[in-house]
Amino acid sequence: MTTADLKGAETVGDPAANENVGHAAGAAPVAAQAALDGADTTAAPELEDEALVLPGEASPARAALNRGARKRSFELGDHPRPKSDIEEWRFTPLRRFAPLFEDVATDDREGDSALEYDVTVPTGAPEPATLAPGEAPRGTALVPEDLPTAIASARTEQALHLVAPKNAELTEPFRVEITGRGADRRGNAHIVLETKESSTATFVLNHTGSAQYAQNVEMLVGDNSRMTVITLQEWDDDALHIATHHARVGRDAKIKHIVVSLGGSAVRVNAIGEFAAPGGEIEDLGLYFSDEDQFLEHRLFVDHAAPNCTSDVAYKGALQGKKARSVWVGDVLIRKEAEGTNTYELNRNLLLTEGARADSVPNLEIETGEIEGAGHAAATGRFDDEQLFYLRARGIPENEARRLVVRGFFAELIQRIDVPEIRERLSASIEAELSRSMN
């Protein structure tokens, strides 16, 4: 059976036609509802865009998409300096990220490194090792596609290498606590995470403090293995962070990749997942909360290069405060050979206040008709006044009602994080984000 379930397609070319988050029906009588709708659409600060390319279609979107053909190289000279007319940088505030486009070494000083790495390895796993450039498996999956990634790779002499051995079932996660020692200090990093054949492991990367951080995370998901990666951006308010994650998923293997961005001044995470063999599964989850003046960008690319693989993407973000910004771009490519693909991607944004802006762009490129299913949905909604009214009409004070709605908005995603301690911490962090603006 072949289906192309294109939810959200009705919003093409009509940036005002956004559904309300939660599909809440208006509770007010009709006359008032009309008035409310009018006010809502004209003031809507959101923007949506989407592109879909089907086989044999000569679309101008194709050149812009064509995600699989992007140049991959370790040479710095092969990558242009990011500019706003380059598709993959068009939403990014380049001046803000400019320090990360400079080819500069990590700012380690005598007895005082720019970033500290505290690594905990679970029982049953070997001690952390390192990999020099060109030393496999480093560089077998992640080959830089842009300048900051190439710099981070070239400027990292020894990449941290964490491995789950063959057949190992590691219940405790690997933990990497990464602490920045100053907003003016540059850090470059390359981290290699590996689950060998038929193993199971979870890796938690937690970022706190502040830095100007260019980071690559390379994930080798061995045949029939299960890898979970959770990266938490809990930076201080002045941190800059560009991260490129690249996963190569083996036969019958599964990766669950979770990105949580709450802190930092400007954070951009580009998560690439590529299927190297049939039967693989990618679950990409993301959760972000953008505050006043904060820029959070999440890009992902799922490369269906093998048959009978499944990908499921769900990112949700809340924004509050003036110039709170978020960008989500989800590229899914189903190559000619990827028959039997099943893919779905979703992005939802919740604008809690005026003056925030969320961009959401799902791109789906399909080169074969022989797929199980492909769909996407993207929606940006303002905080629903009718939900608020309903809860307050039951005696619940406004701030608590807002909390309830935002908690509910994220609940389904948080439930999908299998590490209880992270779930709890995340709930607490969201509470903290909310209480910042609601007192």
Partner: protein, 253 residues
């Protein structure tokens, strides 16, 4: 012993065509234990009356008074009104994704009472109230109004009324769109609240059908933003036979 007093209430709403007056001087007093049916044609402003009392931000009160037990309701926020003892069962209850019914009910009860309900009795109360309304216990773990049928939404509204125990309850077209079984269940819920508590009820309805199950003490005919006529239950019978045409002709002339 609650008393809701509405005096010469005027309310407007902003529309693309400008400000529109919807309530044009409403006078009505509802006392504890009384049931008032507000009946009227579509667009007469009955629902606006309900939402204006509950404090929906889309309506501006331009004139008149609204008091609950002598306290000025117009100065209260939406949630203060609810905590003061007002309850509005909505015609179109809103979905709240990710918030379970059980969490919602407990949060609301805690807000209304000012303290969390004792866990053991609360769980029992919820269970028995749900049983009374023939609601499946799995309902408690579903998200508020998400995927509920029309009848389920209305039962859920009455469930809240039963658990929150308001002084004055406004039921906005709770009967609309229900099949007979659901209507009977919902009506039983209302009658149970009347028997076991001292709640005063404003029953807003377009149809006379629910009055076969819930007997009003007073019937008010609402036309063009005002109460056009009032009487006892016999007035409902007259409406049943004659419809609203008589009033509409009068309103136009």
């Amino acid at each position: 012993m609650s008393i809701l007093e509405i005096k010469n209430l005027h309310a407007t709403v902003e529309t693309p065509e400008g400000t529109k007056e919807i309530l044009k001087g409403v006078d009505l007093t509802i006392k504890a234990g009384e049931t008032h049916a507000i009946m009227g044609p579509n667009g007469s402003g009955k629902s606006t009356l309900a939402y204006a009392i509950a404090g929906h931000p889309k309506y501006s009160i331009t004139e008149g008074e609204l008091t609950l037990d002598g306290e000025n309701v117009l100065e209260m926020s939406i949630d203060e009104r609810a905590r003061a003892g007002l309850f509005l069962a909505m015609q179109y209850p809103v979905e709240v994704p990710g918030v379970t019914v059980s969490n919602f009910l407990r949060t609301a009860k805690t807000a209304i009472d000012g303290e969390a309900p004792a866990l053991r009795t609360w769980v029992k109360d919820v269970k028995s109230a749900m049983g009374d309304l023939r609601m499946d216990p799995v309902f408690a773990e579903r998200n508020v109004n998400e995927g509920f049928s029309g009848g389920e939404k209305k039962r859920h509204e009455i469930l809240q009324m039963q658990l929150l125990n308001p002084g004055i309850a406004i039921l906005d077209e709770t009967d609309s769109g229900l099949d007979v079984d659901a209507l009977r269940t919902v009506s039983e819920g209302v009658n149970r609240a009347k028997e076991t508590t001292d709640v005063g009820i404003m029953l807003i309805t377009h149809y006379t059908r629910i009055l076969q199950y819930v007997t009003p003490d007073f019937v008010h005919v609402f036309v063009n933003g005002q109460i056009a006529e009032q009487g006892g239950p016999e007035l409902a019978e007259r409406l049943e036979n004659e419809g609203y045409d008589r009033y509409l002709v009068g309103a136009r002339s």
